[in-house]
C-alpha cells in the first residue's frame, strides 16, 4: 500500500507527534533524568521530525561544540524557516540548548543516544529478557496479537455502542475512569457512560493516534497520582523498544513501573499469564509506540479488519465496506445509513440524515472525509481524486447548511441625536473592538455584550461633562 504509506508520512511531516508538546512542557530536570535512559533517548529520537533527526545525527558524534554559522551554511534560503523551527523545537526539548554562537547536544542525551546505538552502558534500559522456561513457553506472536486486538477493540467497541441500547463487554474500571477523565465519555446525572463529541472524533483517528491520546491522558493522571513521570515515560519508551514475542522479567522494574503493569495490561499493551506473574510480554500495541509500523496486527486470521483499506464509495453515495469487523461496522454506522450486511460486506448509503446525525454528534465533515480517504479500498486508489468530488462537496454543503444562521448577543445602539455623537461613540467602540455590525446611513451599530458596560460608562461620562 504505497499510497497509504505516503500519506501517513506526510501527516507526520505536518504535525509533530502528540507526545512532543507534552515533553516540551516538562521541566529541564525531568527531561534530563529521562535522558539518562538510552531507550528513552532512542524513542524520542524516533518521534522527532525528519529534519530534527538529521540535525541530531549530525551533532551526535562531535566531541566539541561547533559554530552555529557552520551548521547554518548548509541551509538554503527557502529551508531557513524550517531549520530555525527545528532548532527551536529541539531546544524546547532541551536536546539542543538554545545558543546563538555554538551548537552542541545536551550531554546526557548525547551519551545515552550513543549508548543506545552502540550498546553498553547501564543494563536494563531496554528491558531484561526473562530466562527461558521450557515448562511454560511464552505466548507466540499470534496469541499476543489477538490479545492486544481483543483488549483494544473492547475499549473502542464499548465507546461506539454506548447509548445504542446494546450491551458490549465492559472494559476494566481503570479504562472506564480514563475514558471519563479524558472526556471521551461522560455520564449524565450519574447515568451510564455516554460517548461525547470528542469521543466520536476520537473514533475516527488512526489507532496510533488513539493510543497516544489515551496514554497522554494516562500521563496527566500519573502526574496527579504523584507517580514519578520519569519512571512512567521511561517504561513506555522501554516497551516501545522491546522485541515482539519475547518475554521480559519484571525484576528490574521500579515500584511505580510494577504498578503500571496492571493498567498496561488493561489497554492491551502487555500480556501476562497471571496478574502476579514475574514476567510479561509486550504486544504489538506496545512495541510500535514510537515506530511508524501499524500498532494493530493486520491479518484477517484473528478476526480483525482487512489488511488494507476496505471502503468503496461511489458517486451515487453508496458505500461498500468489505469488512466483517463489528467495530468498523459500528464506526461506519456513525455517518452511513447501513442497508445490507453480508458475511464479508456491508452496504450503506451516505444520506443527508446520516451525515446530519454525525454532525449533531460533533463529528465534522472533514473528519468523515479523511476517514473515508484513509480507509479507501485499493481499487479506489486508482481514482483521482480518490473520493468522488460530488460526495465530498455534498458532505461539506450539508455541514454548511447547519450553520446558516449565526447569532451573537449584544446591544443595538440607535437614535443618535447627531452625526458627531454617533461617530464619537462608534470610534470608542471601534477602539474596544466590540462592533459586530454598523451602518453610518442609519446611524446605528451593534456591539457585543462584553463591550456594553464600557460603552454605557463612556456615554454617561460624556453626558455629565460634554466638553471633556
Amino acid at each position: 500500500m504505497p499510497s497509504l504509506l505516503r500519506q501517513t508520512e506526510q501527516d507526520k511531516k505536518n504535525t509533530p507527534h502528540s507526545l512532543l508538546p507534552f515533553l516540551q512542557s516538562q521541566s529541564q530536570n525531568t527531561l534530563t533524568r529521562l535522558y539518562q535512559r538510552p531507550s528513552s533517548c532512542l524513542s524520542i529520537f524516533r518521534l522527532l521530525a525528519p529534519l530534527e533527526r538529521q540535525i541530531v545525527m549530525n551533532l551526535l558524534w562531535l566531541e566539541s561544540a561547533i559554530a552555529a554559522s557552520t551548521m547554518a551554511a548548509w541551509v538554503q534560503r527557502d529551508g531557513r524557516k524550517l531549520y530555525e523551527e527545528s532548532l527551536a523545537n529541539l531546544s524546547y526539548l532541551h536536546i539542543l540548548p538554545n545558543s546563538a554562537a555554538k551548537l552542541a547536544l545536551n550531554f546526557t542525551f548525547k551519551t545515552s543516544l550513543r549508548q543506545a546505538l552502540t550498546g553498553g552502558g547501564i543494563s536494563g534500559s531496554f528491558g531484561v529478557p526473562a530466562e527461558k522456561d521450557d515448562k511454560q513457553p511464552g505466548p507466540d506472536i499470534e496469541a499476543l496479537d489477538s490479545f492486544a486486538l481483543e483488549r483494544w477493540e473492547t475499549i473502542l467497541h464499548y465507546m461506539v455502542s454506548s447509548g445504542t441500547g446494546q450491551n458490549p463487554t465492559k472494559p476494566s474500571q481503570g479504562v472506564l475512569f480514563l475514558l471519563q477523565r479524558s472526556e471521551l465519555m461522560n455520564s449524565f446525572y450519574g447515568g451510564p457512560l455516554q460517548i461525547t463529541s470528542a469521543g466520536f472524533q476520537f473514533l475516527l483517528h488512526s489507532p496510533h493516534a488513539q493510543l497516544w491520546d489515551l496514554l497522554l491522558q494516562y500521563l496527566h493522571l500519573a502526574e496527579e497520582r504523584q507517580m514519578d513521570l520519569v519512571e512512567v515515560l521511561g517504561f513506555l519508551f522501554m516497551l516501545s523498544t522491546m522485541d515482539l514475542g519475547r518475554e521480559y522479567s519484571i525484576e528490574n522494574l521500579s515500584t511505580t513501573q510494577k504498578a503500571m503493569l496492571e493498567d498496561l495490561r488493561d489497554y492491551g499493551l502487555i500480556w501476562q499469564r497471571r496478574p502476579n506473574s514475574r514476567r510479561f510480554s509486550p504486544t504489538r500495541l506496545g512495541t510500535t509506540l514510537t515506530s511508524s509500523s501499524p500498532p494493530l496486527p493486520t491479518t484477517t486470521g484473528v478476526g480483525s479488519g482487512p489488511k488494507e483499506g476496505f471502503i468503496v464509495l461511489e458517486t451515487n453515495y453508496r458505500v461498500y465496506a468489505y469488512t466483517d469487523n463489528p467495530l468498523q461496522t459500528a464506526v461506519l454506522n456513525l455517518f452511513v445509513s447501513l442497508k445490507y450486511r453480508f458475511p464479508n460486506l456491508v452496504v450503506g448509503m451516505i444520506t443527508r440524515d446520516s451525515v446530519k446525525k454525525a454532525l449533531m454528534n460533533g463529528i465534522t465533515a472533514d473528519q468523515i472525509i479523511s476517514y473515508l480517504i484513509t480507509h479507501a479500498h485499493p481499487q479506489m486508489r486508482k481514482n483521482n481524486p480518490l473520493l468522488p468530488v460530488t460526495v465530498q462537496d455534498q458532505i461539506r454543503l450539508w455541514e454548511l447548511e447547519k450553520n446558516r444562521l449565526k447569532s451573537s448577543e449584544g446591544y443595538l445602539y440607535t437614535s443618535f441625536t447627531s452625526q458627531a455623537d454617533y461617530e464619537l461613540v462608534l470610534n470608542y467602540a471601534k477602539q474596544l473592538d466590540v462592533i459586530l455590525w454598523e451602518n453610518t446611513g442609519k446611524r446605528c451599530f451593534f456591539g457585543s455584550l462584553e463591550g456594553h458596560s464600557r460603552i454605557k460608562e463612556f456615554i454617561e461620562r460624556r453626558t455629565q461633562n460634554p466638553n471633556s
Binding site: E401, L405, Y411, L412, S415, L436, W437, N439, F446
Partner: protein
C-alpha cells in the same frame, strides 16, 4: 440615543425572508438592519432556530 438588548442574526437573504414571514405570525424581530442582518429578541432565539429548522426541513427530501 438608545441601546436595545437583543441578538444579532447573520444569515443569507433566503433565510431572512423565511424569518420575515415567521415574524408575521408571531413577532420577534426588533430591527431589520439589512439583507444579511436582523436583531431579534434574545429570549426568542431558541424558538426561532427550531422553527426555522422545521421550515428548512420542508424544502429537502431524502432518498430513504
Amino acid at each position: 440615543m438608545r441601546a436595545i438588548k437583543g441578538v444579532l442574526l447573520v444569515c443569507d437573504p433566503a433565510v431572512k425572508q423565511i424569518l420575515l414571514s415567521m415574524n408575521e405570525k408571531q413577532s420577534f424581530i426588533i430591527e431589520d438592519l439589512d439583507d444579511h442582518h436582523l436583531v431579534i429578541k434574545a429570549d426568542e432565539e431558541y424558538r426561532v432556530r427550531r422553527e426555522l429548522e422545521t421550515e428548512l426541513e420542508k424544502n429537502t427530501y431524502s432518498l430513504d
